[in-house]
Symmetry: C2
Subunit: 280 residues, 2 copies
């Protein structure tokens, strides 16, 4: 099977490497707005060839859209317009409700499967692509009742080959839950980096002192604004809702510290420890 | 050399394992308020024997205090009272100013070296002890001009054997910088866990969807309140200062989202990306 991957960055590139490695695709055609990305992806042997969007769309059985969600919103309708009955389109977008609303009435809607891999790193671009990015992670498929049976089956087989757990959700649920388990973590990490960069004038000291704890809470702040601003934009009301609650929790901790009420602070931390049951 | 380790948890236990492995100590005597910790530490071969505080203090050349900072504040003066001229006391406490103020005028102050390893995990107790916890991490030694030369030299040799980077700081500086690079990360992680636990009623969904990003920002919320409440208490004003700035940064992001000012949001994220230069 020939696959066209639009957006040969971290996600698209990792997918290309892994699908070829698993024998699911025989040839990968890359499409990217940035010529330099295509060149790197070819050099790194992530794609077999680069092609124009039109050419790449015509020649592939599988078309993967691995681009930021704002670009996706622009491109998906045009791709759906041109899709042939034997072709399957799948996206990798981090938000789902707006995208699925946009194409809800499209005559070729059935050829499209909406997917979101719960996987990634703080790095971007084809040089960040790695073969085991998806292993043991979750792939969410949204509103699958609106996809054609054969299209869904093809994507489910891919997910299986990637050794991912498969979860089905509607788009609304998806956007709500990802606000909690992904988007808020990024907001808090960006804010933490800004806090430290502002308050800590002696930045050499950060480097000397930073231990695993700091690195793990702040590493997401290396993430690209090109990817994340569109996510916050498209999931604005859920993100605002969770962000408000997060600020409220921090305010509460601040007040307890101000009042030197360490007993209540202790109980709050004990309560937060319950996350142990949910995380491995 | 015989070492007495008071507090055979994550830090004390890891130290015992590593110092013996490196041939720096020939025998480790364990002291702990919790009998079950001593029993586990013996079973896991972390210590050679358990002893009473009095007995353990008399028989060791090196005395390590690896207990929460509030317990340290209570115990250190008594240990200093009893120290013999050939013995060396070192602590592993996460805050330093209050402790060093407390023992500033003590006649045996010179036998004490104030240390803080910038290392740890979210787990606690002797079963969490691991041999490579300290490797390539930073050990901060505070106010070393108040320690006797031979005591300091012994601790510096230990740090060297642990393959740690050595950094010297005064206690005030230490408490300020650790508020930025360690304490605030824990506060934000506790708050994030509380946010998610409160807002996300379908906790199974967290488990299904949580990717590496969520896990890394929230894993510190598994940390023990027994260790962390005393730290926040003893570094209260620095922590409050950083926490205030962090809440301010989050408020700013919230306002930008509310106003849908995505250009400024983009610039903020770009600014936070500068943390790349500081973290590896």
């Amino acid at each position: 099977m020939i696959a066209t991957i639009i957006g040969v960055g971290l996600i698209g590139g990792s997918l290309a490497i892994t699908l070829r490695e698993k024998g699911m695709v025989s040839r990968v055609i890359g499409v990217d707005q940035q010529e330099s990305n295509l060149q790197k992806a070819r050099e790194l042997n992530i794609i077999d060839e680069a092609a124009s969007l039109e050419d790449a769309l015509q020649r592939a059985k599988l078309i993967v859209l691995a681009i930021p969600v704002d670009a996706l919103l622009q491109l998906l309708p045009a791709v759906l317009d041109k899709v042939q009955p034997h072709q399957v389109i799948v996206d990798m977008g981090s938000t789902k409700e707006k995208i699925l609303q946009l194409v809800a009435g499209h005559p070729n809607r059935g050829r499209f499967v909406a997917a979101h891999p719960m996987a990634g790193t703080e790095y971007s671009g084809p040089e960040a692509a790695i073969p085991d990015l998806f292993t043991n992670r979750t792939m969410v498929l949204c509103d699958v009742m609106n996809s054609d049976e054969d299209a869904l089956e093809l994507v489910e087989n891919l997910v299986d080959a990637l050794q991912m757990r498969l979860v089905y959700m509607n788009a609304r649920e998806h956007d709500l839950h990802t606000a909690y388990v992904s988007h808020i973590s990024h907001i808090t990490s960006f804010a933490l980096a800004l806090t430290v960069l502002k308050k800590e004038k002696e930045q050499g000291r950060i480097f000397e002192l930073a231990s695993g704890g700091f690195e793990s809470t702040v590493r997401l702040a290396k993430s690209s604004p090109d990817m994340w601003v569109p996510i916050f934009k498209h999931n604005r009301s859920n993100v605002l809702d969770v962000l408000e609650e997060h600020i409220h929790q921090l305010e509460q901790m601040k007040q307890l510290l101000e009042a030197e009420d360490y007993d209540t602070f202790y109980k709050l931390i004990q309560k937060s420890n319950k996350i142990r049951k949910i995380l491995k």
